[in-house]
Structure formats: structure tokens, C-alpha cells
Symmetry: C2
Subunit: 435 residues, 2 copies
């Protein structure tokens, strides 16, 4: 496939799916990519480029390999949402250069899309939609579709405008086909259009797509003017992104290091959390130092510390995960349901605490023959589990309340916090009742 | 909307989207649902029923509210993949009853779909696809689409068969429209069909859908016969399911309790892990008991135990999360890349360990003035972090190797395991060098 024969290359290349073309383009050496730039038109490469799934830096690298006017021509042919993604990685100078080389209309569109804040509907929408006036007929709609099919991001929904350019309806290609020819669009369109605002959070958009099983969703402004559409493939990316985000935060990583990165890059991504938690952990140590006398007097106490703090840490992580997922899926959106959740977690913690306390008291008694120590460990464990379960749900709920992403309360953070409270409870009880 | 006027109800009800209809149907009281069964035909209710997003038990409850023949008629009109989901919740007796009341062909299809193992392509596919012979024309294809549009799950892909009923191509409705009328399907179809086997894991199917941005994917058997299709909305459910699964395992919960469930149900879902880890934690305690003399002699040692085990636990959780996600996204599919990953994690652990050791030795020295203890804590922490990072990646990799889902190695499990090793390292070193 690396032959110098342009005809043969093009024939074989176009037998591949865009995803496979992108995989090929990404894997070959720079000199071969130079040949690809020569063999393919900017329009053809645009298809490949928007199917790439690569690191942000790599986009810039690939663009720099190209002739500037070739790159600008290719960017003009890409779907606007993909161009915006690429542009976010460029520095101002490069961006301006490409924008001046692109045709005015596209440049303007992209410039406007760049204004939307990250993680909003506006930032992931594309302007390549198909729209038609409400007074058109179904036959006219089919003709428009035929013309737009090669460039539109989806032709499976047609968005319908009134004379004031306001979005008044939608019709799926399926319904259009069923409706037959020469019917007024107005009479067959769906007037209850579900739409989102450009400033809406991308997670809310994903939830609507999930609920309604749409393939695309219109984005409008306050005057009901259609600004763009969001397609289901972009929403799958959002869902993946949000899931990865929640997951990495539960593990206490700010950002995933992928396997290709070296150990220094990996360590750099994990160390901030680790060191921060180390300092929080020092607080645990300094608290324990206050109980040095107690530990000196009854050394056996120390051996149950990891058990108590570990178990309370685990129950806290569980409660945290349930609360973060619950908030993400909007099971607890109002204050009343949040209160109910807290009460439920309190009861759940009490049930689990009592049960674990019984188990652990029994074990300590039969193993060491120490009933007092056993009961002390049991009571401390019960209290710690209740506190940990409550903290694991209260902290993300509070964060959600003040408008912070609840997933920021990471698993290790909650665990370290619960270390402190459980040790305080355990050694406090021990000092009060045993010494 | 609860009026007794059937006409008015139907008019208002059909203005809603299926998702909103389902929300309404789900929220009203049983007597009102009885009215709905009277007002809507089984075919109309089928649309509502397959848009429901409810607990498994609730499906059974709703079905039991209906007249048996009405329920069977409704099930016949639903997409087969949704019927299969519902049928998995029924007991054998109910299932047989409904199957005998349904028409033979549908019953047979559903019976066959029920045979596929959970979490495979076969279990999530539907048989309502549109197919056509390769020798047809584009005009014939459009006519078929027009006929199938009201019942097919998607009409945006047409699957193309040869005379032996083998899948030989696919054409999107978009390409069909561009191709124009009276062209042979064979000449415009895409011959490189990406397809999956019925036994393929649903996660692999999701990955293909993501990569290729398809709206539907054909499922074939070993003879290349088309068995069914999987649509993008089902894949979104799979992605959600798998993300929730990884997430809950990292938190040590077997299954998410949703907020509606009471504290006993919640505790029941979390206790198995908690108690299992409690017993594993007892191992930590019994190990520490071996070092009772050391702890007795130098009580100050005890105050750094939570710090060391906490930090090593955190670094282990980080490594675990990276490894589980990496395995899920196939960044590390062969043995060579797994080996490379392990080496990288070893180096990452060493870098982080050294840095944390320096920090902690410094703090202990300046805070307590104890250089020896400080160095001991530092060395123990460095070793624990290296071991924890390695364990956090090695265990999921080994699980993947022997064919177990790597996410089974939950965060709390790795953390508890790392508690044991870190305490062993710390108190072992202390006993050897200080006493």
C-alpha cells in the first residue's frame, strides 16, 4: 500500500472506512503522510482527519506537516464541531492564520462556535444541519436532502423554520418518507421540538439524548433561532468523557495517563493528589501523637487501627460512589430528595456499623480473649462507619449544592478524611474508658 | 389529562414524545393505567412500553395489571430486543403463556433471541431490520423502506443479501438518496460491511460503534447469515452499564442501590464487600500483633502507620484505575504491551515513592527531631508505594490474562491488600533496624 502509484493507492484507500483510513494515516511515517497530502484532495483528507482519535498535541503536529493553504482548505471542509476541537489546541497565531485563509462564512461560523464555554451544548454542536421553511412541501424537502446529503452531518432530521427563522418543528427522514410526496411540511412536522440552549451543560444534553433516543438534538438561542445541532456520536464521546472523569476522580487522578506515556509523565499526573493526601495524612499522624500516652500504655490498641480506619474508609467510598452517581443521574435533584438521601445513608450506615461491630467484637473476644478491647473496637467501628457513610454522601451533596462538581470529592480524599475521624473516635474512646 | 373523554385523552397523549408518554404512564396510579389500557390499542401501548426506563420488577408489575391477551398483543408489537429484556424478568410460566398467545413467527424469534448469553451481541440485537437482495434497484429499496418505516427499528441502513441469504453489503439511506433511482443496489452498496458475531462481548460491539460512528451494526452467524442488528441507542445503554460497572467496582459495591431503595436494601448491597474486607483487615491486625513487642518498645512508631498505609493505598488505587481503564480501552492487549506497562508502573512507583519519602522524612525530622524514625518512615513509604503501584497494575493484568474482568479487583480490595504489605514492610524494617 506504500507504492508510488497514485491510482492504486487511492483505489485501495477508498475501500477503507473513514475510521480505518484515519488509523492508517495516523500509523504511517511522516514521509508517507507527505505522500498522502499529495495524493488526496483537502476535501478527501477532511473526512480522514475528522475520524482521527488522537492526542490533542498530535493534531497540531499533523497540521504543521501540511502546507498552510492545504491545511486551511482541509479545515474548511471539516464539520465545524471538529474544526473547533482542533482549533482549541492551536495557539492564537496559527488559528488566525488558518481563519484568514478559510472562506469568510466558514471562518465566521467557527469564530462564533469558539466563543462557547467548554462542556456546554454550544461547544459540541455543529452548524452542518438541514433546515427548511414550514411552507415547503415534502418533495422540496427530499430535494434539499439530496443536495445536502454529501456535506450535512446528519440528514436524518430536517429542522423546520418559520418566516422569522425561528425553529418551529422537526421531521425525521423516516416520517418524511412515510408522509409521501407533495404534502405541506407544516402539516406533517412534529411541533413539539425538544431543544437545548447553547449554554446548557453537555451532561444535561447527554441525558436528554439518552431519554428520548434521538439521533440529533437542535441547539437554539433565546429567540428560538436554530444555532446548530448535536449528533449522537458526539454525545457518545460526552458520555465516555464524563464516565472517565467520575472514574478517575474516584481513584484520585486528575487526568488519565495513557499507557504510551513515560513514568515521569504518569508520576506527574498522580503526584499532586498523592502529596496533597500525604499532608492530610500527616494530620492523622499528629492527631495520633496526641494519644501517644494511651498507645504507650496499651500497645495492643494500635493493632486495630488499620482495621477500623480501613473499614470506615471502605464504607465512605461506597457511600461516595452512590451519591456521585445519583447526582449525575439526577435521582436527587431537589432539596427534599437530598435530605431523604442523607437520612437513608445515616440508617444504612447504622445498619452496617452495628453488624460490623458485632462481627469484630466477636472476633477480638475469641481471638485475644479481650472483651473490653473487643467492645471498644466494636463501638469505635460502628461510630466510624456511620460517620464515614454520612460524610461520603454529605460532602458530594454539599458540593453539588454550591455548584461544584460532586465528583471532585475523590475517593482517596474521603478515605483520608475518614482515617482522621475514625482514629479520633477510636483513640478518644480508648483514652476515656480504658485509661 | 385524567378526564374520562377518550378522544381528548388520545389527542393530548399523542402530542407527547414516546419518552414523555412513558414517564406519564409510569407515574400515574394503577386505576388510571387501567384506563390507558382501555384507551390505547396494544400497538400504541407497545411504543410507550419500550420507552420505559424502570426497574426490572416494575415491568412485571405493569404486565400483571393488563389482561393477558392484551399484554401478549402488546409484546408482539414491541421491538424484539425490548421484549427479550422484559422476558428475562418473567418466570417460566408467564413467559410460556405469553409466547403461546403471540403469533408463531414472533414467538419463534423471541425464543431464539432468549438463547444468547447475557452481555453478548446476540442478547442486545433486534430482528426488525430492513434487508433487500443485491439484484434489486434503488427504487425497489425505497419502496421497501416506505413499507417497513413504521415497524423497523432503524431504516437508515439497508442490509443487502445475496441469493444464499448471506450478508454481502450495506447501504445507508443517505447514500441511497444520493445514488438516485433505478440503479442496481449491487453497484452502489458498500461491500466492506463491518459486522459482529452473536457471541461477541457487548463491550467490543460498543467499541466498534464508537470507532466507526455507526448508527447500527449487523450481527451475523458463521455462515454470514444476518441474525439481527444492534442500534446506537442500545449501545448507549451498554456504555452506561459498563461505566457504572467499572465505577461501582472501584468503590467496592456489587451493584448500585438507587436512591429510592430503603436503607436495608442499600446495606444488603454494600455489606458483602464490607464484611469480606473486614476479614481481610483482620489479617492486618493479626500481622501487627506479631509486632506487638516492637510497638510496645517504640510507641511513636504506631502514629505513622495510617500515613504509610494510606499513601500506599492511594497510589495503589491510582495504578488500579489506570490499568482497568487501559484494559477496557484495549491500550494493552498483547503481552508485550502488558510487560511494558508493568515496567512503566514500577518506574512510576519508584519516582513517586522517592519523592514522598523525601517529603515525609523531612517532615518527621523537623517536627519530631527524629532523624532515624524519619528515615525509617521514608524508606517504608517508598517501598510501600512501589509495591502498591505494582500490585495495582499487576493484579488487574493477571485477571485479564486468565479471562476474568479486571474490574473485579476493586479499589477497597487493593487498598486492604496494600495495608497489609505496607505494615509488614514498615514494622519489619523497624524491628530489624531499631530494636
Amino acid at each position: 500500500i506504500k507504492k508510488d502509484d497514485i491510482e492504486q493507492f487511492r483505489e485501495q484507500f477508498f475501500e477503507l472506512h473513514p475510521y480505518e483510513q484515519a488509523q492508517f494515516y495516523e500509523k504511517v511515517t511522516p514521509p508517507i503522510r507527505q505522500k498522502i497530502y499529495y495524493y488526496l484532495s483537502p476535501q478527501e483528507l477532511a473526512e480522514v482527519f475528522q475520524a482521527l482519535e488522537i492526542d490533542d498535541d498530535t493534531y497540531v503536529e499533523f497540521l504543521n506537516e501540511m502546507d498552510v493553504s492545504y491545511a486551511a482548505a482541509m479545515l474548511s471542509e471539516m464539520n465545524t464541531d471538529d474544526v473547533v476541537d482542533v482549533f482549541h489546541e492551536l495557539d492564537d497565531e496559527d488559528r488566525t492564520q488558518y481563519l484568514t485563509l478559510m472562506d469568510d462564512e466558514t471562518a465566521e461560523e467557527i469564530h462564533e462556535l469558539m466563543q462557547y464555554a467548554d462542556y456546554t451544548a454550544g461547544a459540541i454542536m455543529t452548524t452542518e444541519y438541514v433546515s427548511i421553511n414550514e411552507n415547503s412541501t415534502t418533495r422540496m424537502a427530499m430535494n434539499i436532502l439530496r443536495n445536502e446529503a454529501p456535506t450535512a452531518e446528519t440528514i436524518y432530521y430536517i429542522f423546520i423554520m418559520n418566516m422569522k427563522k425561528q425553529l418551529v418543528g422537526v421531521i425525521s427522514l423516516r416520517d418524511l418518507i412515510v408522509a409521501g410526496e407533495n404534502v405541506l411540511i407544516r402539516d406533517v412536522m412534529n411541533e413539539r421540538v425538544v431543544s437545548v440552549q447553547a449554554s446548557d451543560d453537555q451532561e444535561e444534553v447527554a441525558q436528554i439524548m439518552r431519554d428520548y433516543n434521538f439521533l440529533a438534538l437542535p441547539v437554539i438561542d433565546e429567540h428560538k433561532t436554530l444555532l446548530g445541532i448535536i449528533t449522537v456520536d458526539d454525545i457518545i464521546d460526552v458520555i465516555d468523557e464524563e464516565a472517565e472523569d467520575d472514574y478517575s476522580k474516584l481513584a484520585g487522578i486528575s487526568n488519565f495517563d495513557n499507557f504510551e506515556q513515560g513514568p515521569f509523565a504518569a508520576a506527574k499526573k498522580r503526584l499532586p493528589w498523592l502529596v496533597m493526601l500525604l499532608f492530610l495524612g500527616m494530620l492523622t499522624a499528629s492527631l495520633m501523637a496526641q494519644f501517644e500516652d494511651t498507645l504507650d500504655a496499651v500497645a495492643i490498641l494500635a493493632i486495630f487501627i488499620p482495621l477500623i480506619s480501613g473499614t470506615s474508609g471502605n464504607s465512605g467510598t461506597q457511600a461516595l460512589a452512590v451519591a456521585v452517581r445519583g447526582l449525575a443521574t439526577k435521582d436527587a435533584s431537589n432539596d427534599e430528595s437530598k435530605m431523604r438521601l442523607l437520612l437513608r445513608e445515616l440508617s444504612t450506615g447504622a445498619i452496617m456499623g452495628l453488624l460490623c461491630a458485632l462481627v469484630v467484637t466477636g472476633i477480638v473476644y475469641f481471638w485475644k480473649g479481650e472483651l473490653i478491647i473487643g467492645m471498644l473496637v466494636g463501638v469505635a467501628m460502628c461510630c466510624s462507619i456511620i460517620v464515614a457513610t454520612l460524610a461520603g454522601s454529605l460532602i458530594p451533596l454539599m458540593m453539588d449544592r454550591i455548584g461544584v462538581d460532586p465528583a471532585v470529592a475523590s475517593g482517596p480524599f474521603i478515605t483520608t478524611l475518614n482515617d482522621i475521624t475514625s482514629i479520633l473516635i477510636y483513640l478518644g474512646l480508648a483514652t476515656a474508658f480504658i485509661l
